[in-house]
């Protein structure tokens, strides 16, 4: 039972991460490899506050979200002016720099030694310690994230984002402030990611920089793409598939020395296969992943 609950909690955390990233990648068409950095910032801010200032969970959550948002603005404002593929490299650079800072400021963040013993959440006197209690917390937070994202997507702002994805130049020519919109969605995606970080820190009660590397960013991107870009329910599906499926593989008896490599290979192969045959993922919009037609003819 504990195992199942644990998996469900993880699915919840990854749903928060992928729904927030989907707003940026799926709806606005902007790829960022820095998602794990915001995830990590949320986790570290909450952990450091809880360990050093002994502040309550909800306050830590609020401060973490704000800190992540500010960090998102600092990263986004200068970088979003860049061309698409250069923006990706910029986010890559920010991700690596964030990781290095977390890893090297040993006196502040614990560095590679990590931060053990993070206190578990205490919300208005109600202690959250068991898996069931955590699951309820995660479901609530996931629900809130989903609701916020859904509101954004259905609003005129959401339509603007999609328009930017389809044809940015046209939107700019039509007089809309594209860079403003991009920064807004980037900040939102950063803030929501930190919620997942706070949950992670208080659930596992131990964090170290290795949980927030570039591979983690790539994993979250895979969830968004495979689940379905521009479809929030797709992110739930993606989380379930990419978190639960590898667990099922444990029950197939593969010889130990290669089991782990085989699982990685299957993951990589899954990425390649999806890109070749269904780039929009399970539930995504059909046109995602394909360059738009120009005057009805294929561009060369």
């Amino acid at each position: 039972m504990e195992y199942l609950l644990h998996i469900l909690i993880l699915i919840g955390i990854y749903t928060i991460l992928s729904v927030s990233l989907n707003l940026l990648v799926g709806y606005t068409g902007i790829l960022s490899i820095a998602h794990a950095a915001f995830y990590g910032v949320g986790a570290y801010v909450a952990a450091l506050m809880a360990l050093n200032l002994h502040t309550p969970f909800l306050l830590n959550l609020l401060i973490a979200v704000i800190a992540s948002g500010i960090f998102g603005a600092l990263v986004g404002i200068p970088s979003l002016r860049l061309r698409d593929d250069y923006f990706v490299i910029a986010t890559f650079a920010f991700q690596i720099i964030t990781f290095t800072i977390l890893n090297n400021l040993v006196d502040f963040t614990g560095g590679p030694l990590g931060l053990p013993g993070i206190p578990q959440p205490n919300i208005f006197g109600f202690e959250i310690t068991t898996h069931i209690e955590f699951l309820i917390l995660v479901i609530i937070l996931t629900g809130v994230t989903f609701w916020i994202s859904n509101k954004i997507v259905k609003s005129p702002f959401g339509r603007l984002l999609k328009a930017i994805r389809e044809d940015e130049v046209f939107v700019k020519a039509a007089g809309r402030n594209v860079s403003d919109a991009k920064v807004k969605v980037f900040v939102i995606n950063a803030s929501l990611a930190s919620v997942a970080g706070v949950v992670y820190a208080t659930y596992i009660t131990y964090i170290d920089p290795t949980s927030f590397t570039i591979m983690e960013s790539i994993f979250i991107i895979s969830i968004v793409i495979i689940g379905g870009s521009a479809n929030l329910k797709g992110s739930i599906v993606g989380s379930i598939v990419l978190v639960a499926l590898p667990e099922l593989l444990r029950f197939i008896g593969l010889p130990n020395s290669i089991a782990a490599n085989i699982r990685q290979i299957l993951y990589g192969a899954l990425l390649v296969i999806f890109m070749l045959w269904r780039p929009q993922g399970f539930l995504g919009e059909y046109s995602f992943g394909q360059k738009p037609l120009v005057n009805g003819k294929k561009p060369e």
């Binding site: 990648v25 068409g29 790829l31 200068p78 970088s79 860049l82 061309r83 698409d84 593929d85 250069y86 990706v88 490299i89 910029a90 890559f92 650079a93 920010f94 690596i96 720099i97 290095t100 800072i101 890893n103 090297n104 940015e168 130049v169 020519a173 790539i218 991107i221 895979s222 793409i225 290669i258 490599n261 085989i262 990685q264 290979i265 993951y267 990589g268 192969a269 899954l270 990425l271 390649v272 890109m275 070749l276 780039p279 992943g289 394909q290 360059k291 294929k298 561009p299 060369e300």
Partner: protein, 292 residues
């Protein structure tokens, strides 16, 4: 700074240059990040290991064979994965993810077959390097530098003078115009992959002759090459050399004065500065975002 510092700089500079060059040749014509290039680099070393150690071939024969194998690997990736995706008009994001998937699959295959520990193709004893003005350099390192310089000159010459080279530059500059002029872009792309992968394989072998090989050595090496390429400017060989120099200098100074822990952060901070203030690098051309 003492002479040893310069020697360290030189070795790192050329290691970065060759890999950056191999990547930029491909990047110029396909315009997305071919992450799998990292494993083509690693495969050069491991093919040499396979041929030399497993099959007992002498190193002199193993190396050219390994280079050919890496080239074939790079071309297969283009023919089997990228070309079909191009036909489907996939966006750069989709191809990048596919490239990442290929990297994960191939790197894990190398780990499974060869193991994750360090493997070596050095057949000679480790000896003190040759003493040059108080600094040390080993014969292998001299070979690395000389080979790299020769390769850089050769590729520069090829790009400027030969028909295929000119075609590559044309496609890199303006694919639509190139197509209209009758250049077969698929053929040009395949040629770029061939040359780029061969260079990557050579780089992998050279590095492993100096510091041995591990299955995961490719990604970090590639990232440094990418930084050098962007800082120097895509499409300019002088730019790549200059970019590699700046990167190697910053990293070495960083290790010397601060600590090696910040090496990666320094590299990427430089990258960010260039991306934000001079994205075309030292000698690259300013690329228009969109033509209306």
């Amino acid at each position: 700074m003492n002479f040893q510092f310069l020697i360290n700089l030189l070795i790192l500079l050329f290691q970065y240059s060759i890999l950056a060059l191999s990547f930029s040749l491909i990047y110029q014509v396909i315009r997305f990040f071919h992450f799998a290039h990292a494993v083509v680099f690693t495969s050069g070393a491991y093919f040499a290991f396979l041929i030399c150690v497993f099959w007992g071939c002498p190193l002199l024969f193993a190396i050219p064979l390994a280079i050919i194998c890496s080239t074939i690997l790079g071309c297969l990736i283009e023919l089997l994965i990228y070309k079909p995706l191009r036909k489907k008009r996939s966006t750069a994001l989709v191809v990048m993810l596919a490239s990442l998937g290929i990297y994960i699959v191939l790197q894990n295959i190398i780990s499974m077959v060869f193991g994750d520990d360090t493997k070596s193709i050095r057949t000679w004893q480790v000896v003190e390097g040759i003493n040059v003005f108080g600094a040390r350099i080993t014969p292998v390192q001299i070979i690395i530098v000389v080979t790299s310089v020769l390769l850089l000159i050769f590729v520069a010459f090829y790009l400027h003078s030969s028909k295929t080279g000119k075609a590559m530059r044309a496609v890199a500059n303006d694919p639509e115009l190139a197509n209209i002029s009758g250049i077969n872009s698929n053929k040009v792309i395949l040629t770029s992959f061939a040359i780029g992968s061969a260079l990557a394989g050579i780089a992998g072998i050279l590095v492993s002759l100096d510091v041995d090989m591990t299955p995961t050595m490719g990604m970090n090496a590639l990232m440094m090459g990418v930084v050098a390429m962007i800082v120097g400017g895509v499409g300019s060989i002088w730019g790549i050399v200059l970019g590699s120099l700046l990167l190697a200098l910053a990293q070495n100074l960083g290790v010397w004065y601060i600590s090696s822990q910040w090496q990666d952060a320094i590299a990427f901070a430089i990258l960010l500065i260039f991306l934000l203030f001079k994205p075309e690098g030292f000698f690259g051309k300013k690329l228009k975002k969109a033509t209306i």
